[in-house]
């Protein structure tokens, strides 16, 4: 039986770049962004699930992994990275109406894209990374599961799919647990779930020219009042760099380094 997986990608500013805000929104400079590193674990997880499946019966469609991102055009670099790793089809949802979306607006757009894909053929699974390295909210997978009415299995450190039941282990907060749910479902994987494969040369070459489908808010029948800045329930009213730290007090240990450290804590009333 054919299995169809959607992997969600986010294009994020490099964590080593000078990350900043302008007019309440994160500046996303195309030269300084890339695929959110944690989404590579999601791509890898999706590919491994598909590779472990039996071939579809004759006459059935092949298994498919589709990458979806909601972002401006600069995010193509993220989709191409997914192509390099082995994703077969990529879709970028781009619309000025989506700019400034909060968690709920982003979720609405992603859910609409999944539903749209499902109109052609059912989507069995959505896979995401555990967080985006710019926002670190980690809530979109749960919100998407809620929006689609599907079970959520988040923060997986291992994943297996058998007879359309997805089983994961997770180590979150205070417990280690094993959870299971029937497909269709939403899965998020951590950075210890797998080691993403290196792109192979053939795929790198092919990824350069492989087309990326572009969908608009209208294609997804999204209500412009429900997404983007118009639909956002929170508004960023101020964003400023925090004051730099004071001068570093540096001690080179010549036998008194530990005592100096203790004195620093004691004199600053930190003990």
């Amino acid at each position: 039986m054919t299995v169809r997986i959607v992997v969600l990608l986010k294009y994020v500013p490099d964590i080593t770049s000078d990350r900043r805000f302008t007019d309440g929104r994160v500046v996303r400079d195309p030269a300084e962004g890339s695929l959110n590193e944690l989404d590579e674990n999601a791509v890898e997880a999706a590919l491994r699930i598909v590779e472990a499946l039996p071939e579809p019966a004759e006459g059935e469609d092949p298994h498919e992994v589709v990458a979806v991102t909601v972002a401006p055009e600069a995010a193509d670099i993220a989709v191409r990275k997914a192509y390099q790793i082995g994703v077969g089809r990529g879709i970028r949802v781009t619309d000025e109406a989506l700019a400034g979306s909060d968690y709920f607006g982003t979720t609405a757009a992603l859910a609409a894209a999944v539903r749209r894909l499902g109109e052609d053929q059912p989507v069995d699974l959505v896979v995401t990374g555990m967080a985006a390295l710019d926002g670190l909210g980690s809530v979109v997978p749960a919100l998407l599961a809620e929006e689609l009415g599907w079970p959520q299995l988040t923060l997986a450190t291992s994943v297996s799919l058998e007879d359309r039941t997805l089983t994961i282990t997770r180590e979150a907060d205070d417990a280690v647990e094993t959870l299971a749910a029937p497909l269709p479902a939403v899965l998020s994987v951590t950075d210890s779930a797998n080691s993403p494969r290196y792109p192979n040369f053939t795929l790198i070459m092919a990824a350069r020219t492989k087309p990326i489908e572009v969908w608009t808010a209208a294609d997804l029948e999204l209500d412009p009042a429900e997404v983007g800045l118009a639909g956002a329930r929170t508004t960023t009213v101020d964003a400023a760099p925090r004051p730099p730290r004071g001068e570093l007090q540096l001690v080179v240990d010549k036998g008194e380094g530990g005592t100096a450290l203790a004195q620093f804590l004691i004199t600053n009333d930190l003990v």
């Binding site: 809530v139 988040t154 647990e177 508004t235 960023t236 730290r245 540096l250 080179v252 530990g258």
Partner: protein, 332 residues
């Protein structure tokens, strides 16, 4: 505005817990600056827990009773917790819902906000009304603590998860005697099955990393020997943490960083920690940063307030001894 109502979720991995976690007491303290604070619990609060809540001025505790179609071991699932949170907000018509930040807390709070049509902010580091009235202004540190943003939430209610160590927990001026109210919560059958669940054991006597006032972390420079790190932590009454590299080497069972535990203690001490971007993302919002590293070029020095260039195996035990001597003298 009439006095706003703030609902604080008392999360606990252990329903039999006899103590209220410091993070929850901080939320109640913060909540009192916004309005009247009610508390929402899963499971029956013990006498000791009620006494603590009373000392913090809480008059009403709402004890969720989840419908029996959901087994107790599934009560922590996001879909169930979200139903509890949303029902709690509806029951008392809360203006603000505060939940301690954790992976589970963020997910449940976000889904509850979706169901309530409420605005949601994750990992706040401060909340205040705008000149005593709506909208709520919520500050948050982003980009590894290098920026601070302020958002307003126009919706009523506002749903916010709050980081530990945002405020110092302080009992109320007037002690209350909390009443416990049952809160029936109807939940659809969970689509997720909990096959097994095991609570992690925390090293006896050490606080949790995400809530501790002081955290001592070890990195690759420990070469696998966390003895000096633990020694200094115990002298300070601090939590112990590690970098991702150290955890992946098997030297410690969890790690601080962008994809691990986020800490923002009063004091962070990194020993043999280079200061890779991943780790910085989980600790850079700490108030005071101290580093011990034998590499004078270690990037962590760039974000440190105090640093020792030296061998941690020498520096840490000496510091621990001096701290112990100081504490003994103070007590004597």
């Amino acid at each position: 505005m009439t006095r706003p109502t703030v609902l604080v979720f008392l999360d606990s991995p252990d329903p039999e817990a006899e103590e209220v976690r410091p993070a929850v007491l901080e939320l109640i303290t913060l909540g009192r600056t916004l309005g009247r604070v009610d508390v929402l619990t899963l499971g029956a609060p013990s006498v000791a827990v009620l006494a603590t809540l009373g000392a913090y001025g809480v008059e009403n505790v709402h004890q969720a009773a989840v419908s029996t179609n959901v087994p107790a071991k599934a009560h922590h699932l996001t879909s169930v917790l979200a139903a509890v949170l949303a029902e709690g907000v509806r029951r008392i018509d809360a203006d603000v819902l505060l939940v301690p930040s954790s992976f589970a807390g963020r997910e449940a709070a976000a889904v509850a906000a979706a169901r309530l049509g409420a605005g949601f902010v994750a990992d706040a580091s401060g909340l205040a009304w705008t000149d005593g009235a709506a909208p709520l202004r919520i500050s948050k540190r982003v980009f590894a603590g290098t920026w601070e943003t302020v958002s307003t939430v126009a919706s009523d209610p506002a749903v916010v998860t709050v980081r530990a160590n945002t405020v110092v927990a302080e009992p109320a001026e007037t002690v209350a005697r909390p009443d416990v109210w049952p809160l029936p919560v109807e939940v659809g059958a969970a689509a997720v099955t909990v096959v097994s669940r095991e609570l992690k054991h925390r090293a006896a006597g050490r606080p949790a990393q995400e809530e501790a006032a002081i955290v001592v972390a070890g990195g690759r420079g420990t070469h696998g020997d966390f003895g000096p790190v633990e020694d200094l932590a115990d002298a300070l009454g601090a939590a112990v943490g590690a970098t991702r590299d150290a955890a992946f080497e098997g030297w410690f069972d969890s790690y601080i960083g962008q994809t691990g535990v986020t800490v923002a203690p009063r004091v962070y001490i990194g020993a043999g920690v280079s200061g890779a971007p991943h780790h910085r993302g989980g600790m850079q919002a700490s108030q005071v940063i101290v580093a011990v590293n034998n590499d004078p070029e270690a990037p962590i020095f760039e974000i440190s307030d105090f640093a020792v260039v030296g061998d941690l195996a020498d520096v840490l035990p000496q510091a621990a001894a001096a701290i112990r001597a100081h504490k003994a003298a103070r007590q004597g």
